[in-house]
Symmetry: C2
Subunit: 295 residues, 2 copies
């Protein structure tokens, strides 16, 4: 058992024989030198990733994350990932951490070492932070203009707005800006005033009896946690909807959350310095669902 | 002597004693595992870089590149780089490659290993490609919408448009899109129709007797090669100007180039499938200047 676990992965082609799977990855000392400086991941932020929650030994929503990894690979013209390999690698990595508690399991696929095109991969598992306050009391959020109009991702696919790439410098800068303003997190807004997504989360709002989220066509990543919550709510007979949201719509919502795989449902308690209603009951229900074993 | 050289660098604080400089970096086998997978460079594309040309043993424009590295570090809130250290590291790396020929020398500064904030750094030198055809016959270029309006970088500094970060996935996707369209390279255009920059270059145009380039306030990186060429031309008594350029302005120019540190002046011979005039005399003069030793 270890609190932090790192595997280096040699990504296999989709048609590789299953006999190669177990030998296609190896555990290394966390923090040790592993990637070449001219691997396209550090060289160009040119790779894709997913972060999965591990809760009491169960890896949440492996298939939706792998489906999105494959979609990100397609959008960035990386070789199609061998999902059977990634399923095994994820399982083996999760087995190496304690069977109790929360962990964040990141999988990444890079274009490989420049100038070749043999992808490299890795898994890195770390203990989850203590999200109790974020999940219960909520978070303070600021809106930040992303500069692009709604729908820019469809007109300009080279912006990779729908792919989860390793190029997150601007996402990290947005979180620093939020903290500078005394907040905890940010929500990106389009140049034409529509709510997009958080730097590492999806935005959900309850407006009356309907739970709404901006459509992926707005130029955002389709959230795995948002989708999981939508499926759960639909199963409960509740109304969910993809709908364009202005900042005023969000400000006037009956409740709102940032949703992400590891922090899960964090209610927005303050938006741009103004208090927002926190629906404690719905939040507790959502996090109970999100923390339960999900496949 | 080696054709490819890699140094790992422990970035020193600006007030470090000079006695530590020589011991602050070490050569490693190129392509060997060096960076932790949770170093912020592969983890988040969260770091900054510069690429310098080495021409017959001379590193071009070290000080302008270091000034821009320091500016990128400031914009991304990385610790201020110790420029004395980087000068030494650059010199030592350049000494390891043959004294004839062209090389590309990349320096990079990452935020370090998550969750710490001790930066990591590296230098990687590779042989320059054969740019003869690009510099003489020219390149085919397509315009690609970047989705942001001109000036978005000033309104949204968290987009880091003026910083040279390691998050280049979208720049690489733009070059792939250009190749898919049968071209060699791309020029990003703002959502409101203004010429911005290439994915790895600046745009210059000759309009009558004036050499023009878009102003950095448009939301672009201030090009070191563009600045060097402007200084050279001004020294020759030629008119240069920062000026907003529409795509029509570029299409109607008397000549145009993409300028970058290693490929240098590449005339645009074709823009979106339409031929453009190539000023062979001016191009030869610019590349003769750019290939001469510059500090």
């Amino acid at each position: 058992m270890a609190e932090t676990v790192t595997f280096l992965v040699d990504p296999l082609p989709v048609d590789a024989s299953t006999e190669f799977l177990e030998a296609s990855f190896r555990e290394i000392e966390p923090g040790s030198g592993a990637l070449a400086v001219n691997d396209f991941a550090p060289h160009r932020g040119d790779g894709v990733f997913e972060t999965l929650a591990v809760v009491d030994g169960h890896v949440q929503e492996v298939e939706p994350h792998l489906a999105r990894l494959a979609n990100s690979a397609r959008l960035t013209e990386l070789p199609e990932p061998n999902l059977e390999q990634w399923r095994l690698v994820i399982r083996r990595a999760a087995e190496r951490v304690p069977a109790e508690g929360e962990f964040a399991l990141k999988i990444a696929l890079s274009r490989g070492v420049d100038p070749g095109n043999t992808p490299t991969g890795w898994v890195h598992v770390t203990p989850g932070a203590d999200f109790a306050a974020s999940r219960e009391r909520g978070i303070r959020v600021v809106t930040l203009d992303r500069g692009v109009a709604r729908g820019a991702g469809e007109r300009s696919p080279w912006l990779l707005l729908g792919a989860k790439t390793l190029s997150y410098a601007s996402n990290m800068a947005a979180i620093r800006e939020a903290k500078r303003r005394g907040a905890d997190d940010a929500v990106f807004v389009s140049a034409d005033g529509y709510v997009l997504e958080g730097p590492t989360s999806s935005v959900l709002a309850r407006i009356g009896d309907v739970i709404v989220t901006p459509p992926p066509a707005a130029g955002i990543l389709h959230g795995t946690t948002q989708r999981s919550v939508f499926a759960y709510l639909e199963g409960q007979g509740r109304a969910v909807e993809y709908r364009d949201l202005t900042v005023d719509d969000l400000r006037g919502a009956d409740a709102a959350w940032l949703m992400s795989s590891v922090r899960m449902a964090a209610p927005i308690a303050e938006l741009d310095g103004t208090s927002m209603p926190v629906d404690h009951e719905a939040t507790a229900e959502l996090n109970a669902y999100l923390l339960s074993p999900r496949d």
